[in-house]
Symmetry: C2
Subunit: 259 residues, 2 copies
């Protein structure tokens, strides 16, 4: 089982879209995929029709069990979705209180990692969608994952944000045995703008080796897909955006052998 | 002095862009404006050339003073910018630790409000840019502001997120004397897509009265502006995006008499 985290502290760079699209491409190939929503705002959960305000059994339940000293368990927290091959471990809005309540307690960074160990036989791939802020939820994702995808919009503010994200990673990496494998993915790329092309050029110069050599272009069909609550690979498999994510998945398989 | 908060828990909806553009339009009219960066990721600070990792004097300083029981003060935390009429109270990356450290302590939701009281004579307008997550920093913004601007991208996931944002507001509103005046602003609107137009229609039906009747269109010049570190009203005053924000400012003046 390969566990991916999808993270960036900058908001609106395509974390949720990347999670849904890659999971769907693998699901359509017959693989069994779990998507995990660590964002208290619950975009990923809403995408699959789950309501973070009143969901029974969610990521929050895992933390409640840990605090109560109960046995680890994935029962009642994994929900089916209408998308082929995809199951969901949803967020609940209560997650927003975690940083305040829990961070002084020991071992709270490993709750997700220990819970996902129980899913080894059930799922071949897990994608963890992170909130746009550093805290106990992102720490859980970085501790649980085998590798990390960092979507970055090809524009100036997002590049500045990337430096900060990589510094955070270094800080966290010191407490792991091995540094965390990561790949930077240029998203929402608009090749008609000068700023877009210049930002991509800067990325290619500063982060060679850690940067995917392709780009995810702007494709307005992603908005239609989220409105329909269906992954774009199921709706329009040959759209520009889907073809780009298919190429990304091939690169990920080469680098990490996840198929 | 009128204090605006710009907030939405959904990432990438144009909070920072709205802050910079409205502040610049007022600054170019000769008004004196303070912009406050509450996002530990520091987009607004980076925009004006301030580096959140090593800035001396920031929002974090205000909390340190409060915890140490020191006198409130705005000395050494307000930085000049190259933009006409705009001063900056920057973020520092240390802000990310606040939720864990402080929230059990009393009165931590009023640090910003008490500090901004000291700026009454110096500034006519204050814009507070919020992080895309609910926590002690957003609480400070909601407690300090006279009214709230909620940018919402005209697409499905963002609409779902708006419901959650308004529920959060209701929850916070109960601890204030009067409910917080707010206006919902449709942003990043792409009138060529079906999803964009349908989302706008849903907004107009569900939130009439609280919704601005205009839209901020997609304008790629905003990316050029952030790359140049200058507000778009200074670079291209008659671009589509600036004209739309100018119309928004007129509406804000009508509603809240802020001029
Ligand atoms: N390649 C793309 N082309 C066009 N639109 C896109 C693309 N990728 C994402 N989007 C749109 O951009 C918006 C932001 O994407 P998304 O919600 O996936 O970002 P995020 O990083 O998960 O945001 P948050 O920080 O709130 O978690 C959404 O409206 C989504 O539909
Ligand atoms: N009207 C617009 N037209 C085109 N691009 C825009 C517009 N408004 C914002 N943008 C771009 O969209 C991206 C997101 O905007 P911005 O950073 O202001 O959002 P935000 O809500 O502050 O994000 P965060 O959640 O990370 O704080 C930026 O690249 C910005 O340049
Ligand atoms: Mg997301
Ligand atoms: Mg911002």
């Amino acid at each position: 089982m390969h566990i991916w985290a999808v993270a960036n502290q900058k908001g609106g760079v395509g974390k949720t879209t990347t999670t849904v699209t890659l999971a769907s491409l693998l699901g359509l190939q017959g693989e069994s995929v779990l998507v995990v929503d660590l964002d208290p705002h619950g975009s990923l959960s809403s995408y699959f029709g789950c309501v973070p305000e009143d969901v029974e059994g969610s990521v929050y339940t895992l933390f409640q069990h840990r605090v109560a000293g109960k046995e680890r368990s994935l029962t009642n927290v994994i929900h089916p979705t209408k998308a082929k091959g995809i199951s969901l471990l949803p967020a609940s809005t209560a997650l927003v209180t975690l940083d305040r309540q829990l961070s002084e307690q020991e071992g709270m960074g490993l709750v997700l990692r220990r819970a996902l160990e129980l899913g080894q036989k059930q799922f071949q791939h897990v994608f963890v969608d992170c909130p746009p802020v550093f805290g106990i939820l992102m720490l859980n994702a970085l501790a649980a994952c085998s590798s990390l995808i960092i979507p970055v919009q090809t524009e100036y503010l997002a590049l500045k944000g990337l430096e900060r994200m990589l510094r955070t990673l270094e800080m966290v990496g010191r407490s792991r045995q091995a540094p965390l494998e990561h790949i930077i993915v240029p998203t929402l790329h608009d090749r008609r703008t000068r700023a877009g092309c210049e930002s991509l050029e800067i990325l290619r110069q500063q982060y060679a080796g850690r940067l995917w050599n392709g780009v995810i272009p702007i494709d307005t069909k992603f908005r239609d897909a989220s409105q329909a609550g269906r992954p774009l690979p199921e709706m329009t498999p040959n759209s520009r955006g889907v073809l780009a994510y298919r190429a990304l998945l091939e690169e990920l398989s080469r680098r990490y052998g996840c198929n």
